[in-house]
């Protein structure tokens, strides 16, 4: 069938949109290979890994590699928790339980409430908690509290919590989409054959939802890896994540080192996205192969 003219018009628009999406990122990846005498923009003064080398040695006063490591580890923890908690909650929402409507609205609200407000709330909560902990410590007469206690806020307390308020709603919404399309007869069949609830979950439900769980993991990691607004006020102390350090660097670094750093973090994101997509495909193929065998 011949395509109508509207198709070509819209296809052109779509192509422009894709160029708009990817063009800038491609530009900075190219510019990060700028020669040693090159600046923040074209023309390219030769081609080199100079700026990656500079990056490897560290950017100014900021310990960028420590931030890199912190963000990566936090991303992994957020990913695992997001998958587990969303899966359990998704399971729960298949049945009515008291307060389910309220929990759903809280999750959606957590997506919609401006990040700065959530961040402020968590910061205030930990500040009050610190006051409480310090005064209890003093009351008990433990010297350590008077001398060295600073804060309970940190990457794996307030930071982790802030990230989860952002990743969990996404995970939950994906689980809803999954279980809405889930054919309950598979479970009934398993039950009729005498499977325990755990066996039904392990051998029937889990293999079917596995690709979606990879997708939730992808959301969990990448959203955490890039999160700046919610953690901005909530971390306390000087242990910043990579996106926060990056935001700071945008005003101080005026050479292609920042592009090199940008290329690197984008590279990490792309590696994660690609491996997630490949895993999903492999799982699908395996399921198809199993079906073909029967």
């Amino acid at each position: 069938m011949r395509r109508p003219p509207a198709f070509w018009l819209l296809a052109g628009f779509f192509a422009l949109f894709v160029l708009f999406l990817y063009g800038p990122v491609i530009t900075i990846v190219v510019l990060s290979f700028q020669g040693p005498s090159g600046g923040l923009t074209f023309p390219m003064q030769g081609l080199s890994l100079h700026w990656f080398g500079r990056l490897w040695e560290g950017v100014g006063v900021v310990d960028i590699w420590a931030a890199f490591g912190r963000s990566f580890r936090l991303g992994i923890v957020v990913m695992v928790l997001t998958v587990l908690v969303s899966l359990a909650a998704g399971y729960a929402f298949r049945r009515r339980f008291p307060g389910s409507g309220l929990v759903f609205y809280a999750a959606v609200a957590s997506l919609i409430v401006p990040s700065i407000v959530v961040s402020l709330g968590i910061a205030v909560m930990f500040r009050l908690l610190d006051l409480g902990v310090a005064s209890v410590g003093e009351w008990l007469g433990i010297e350590w509290f008077a001398d060295s206690f600073t804060t309970t806020a940190g990457i794996y307390t307030s930071g982790l919590g802030a990230h989860l308020t952002w990743t969990l709603p996404f995970g939950l919404l994906i689980m809803f989409a999954v279980f809405n399309r889930f054919d309950g007869r598979f479970e009934e069949a398993a039950r009729d054959l005498g499977a325990t609830p755990w066996q039904t979950f392990r051998h029937v439900v889990l293999p079917i939802v596995a690709p979606s769980l990879i997708g939730i993991g992808l959301f969990g990691f990448t959203l955490s890896w890039d999160e700046a607004a919610r953690s901005s006020q909530a971390l306390g102390g000087d242990q910043n994540t990579l996106p926060l350090e990056l935001t700071g660097l945008t005003t101080t670094v005026t050479n292609p080192e920042i592009y090199a750093l940008g290329s690197l973090t984008t590279g990490v994101s792309f590696a994660v996205i690609l491996s997630a997509l490949l895993t999903i495909r492999a799982l699908r193929n395996r399921a198809a192969a199993l079906r073909a065998k029967e």
Binding site: T41, V113, I116, V117
Partner: protein, 293 residues
């Protein structure tokens, strides 16, 4: 399993989510509201109830009218960004979703092109903002090109660290939030409705306006809620792309927090939240009214 046991099991399964949301979302929000009416001094929050913070936020606002005070000005500027970003993302997002849903016929291509649109969403926002610098800067690609082509004599200054670059970055970052829900609504539209419209003699535009758009309303509203709430509370994008020169409510809150004026920041946060909720309420009304008619 009995009904009671089943619902108890569901409670246990939901428990981790409930606890995490309660501790890191609901409780902090409650504390923001509580602290917003507390007093403070240079180094501590004082738990005495006072209207001082709210008074400080609107200080001189009524006296100065019709001249706008800082708070009103900032809200006006943020609302202006909201409106522009909303219109741009809606138009672009709708067009892209329409192309994907109605003009790409094979499911395989649909999935691939949809992924092409969503992959940038999984990469760093800050990097995606920075990546505009070599294009829009004074010696950037666009200025070089404009001068070489003889269109301008001197570099355009308004391309970067300006309202324009902030708008561009918002559209770049968040059009995805429009595409996904609108695309989702479109894929649910029964194709026979479009055929019926065609058979009844409707032109392409009439079908679009009278059939497709009304059926996409839920998707449009969901996308709009995302985009509007993100822009209302933003301070990172406006900060980086505005060269730290453009005011926003989020920025005011973060600056006040850096001075440890938590109660004042909390009062601003409560007002921001109220404004955002009113906007969402208005938008959800817009859908329901349609459904009732």
């Amino acid at each position: 399993m009995s009904r009671v046991a089943s619902s108890r099991a569901a409670l246990w399964q939901a428990a981790p989510l409930v606890v995490l949301l309660a501790v890191f979302f609901v409780l902090p929000l409650v504390l923001v509201v509580v602290v917003s009416v507390w007093d403070y001094n240079d180094y501590a929050i004082l738990p005495d109830v006072t209207p001082r913070n709210y008074r400080d936020v609107f200080e001189g606002c009524l006296v100065a009218l019709p001249e706008l005070c800082v708070t009103f000005k900032t809200y006006l500027s943020t609302l202006k960004f909201c409106l522009m970003v909303w219109l741009s993302t809606l138009l672009i997002g709708f067009t892209v979703a329409y192309f994907l849903a109605f003009h790409v016929r094979s499911l395989g291509w649909q999935v691939v092109l949809f992924l092409v649109c969503t992959i940038p969403f999984w990469t760093s926002n800050v990097i995606r903002m920075i990546s505009w610098i070599p294009l829009l800067g004074r010696n950037g690609v666009i200025n070089q090109w404009l001068q070489q082509a003889g269109i301008t004599d001197a570099p355009l200054e308004w391309l970067l660290f300006s309202d324009f670059s902030v708008l561009l970055a918002f559209v770049h970052l968040y059009t995805m939030f429009m595409i996904v829900p609108i695309f989702n609504s479109m894929t649910r539209i029964d194709r026979s409705l479009l055929e019926a419209a065609y058979d009844a003699g409707a032109s392409g535009w009439q079908t679009l306006w009278n059939v497709v758009i009304p059926l996409c309303k839920p998707g449009i509203v969901i996308g709009s809620i995302f985009v509007v709430t993100i822009v209302m509370g933003d301070f990172v994008t406006i900060g980086v792309m505005g060269g730290q020169q453009i005011a926003s409510i989020g920025k005011i809150i973060s600056v006040q927090m850096s001075y440890l004026q938590f109660p004042l920041a909390a009062a601003n946060a409560v007002i921001l939240l109220a404004v955002v909720m009113m906007i969402i309420w208005a938008m959800t009304r817009a859908v329901d009214i349609r459904r009732e008619l």
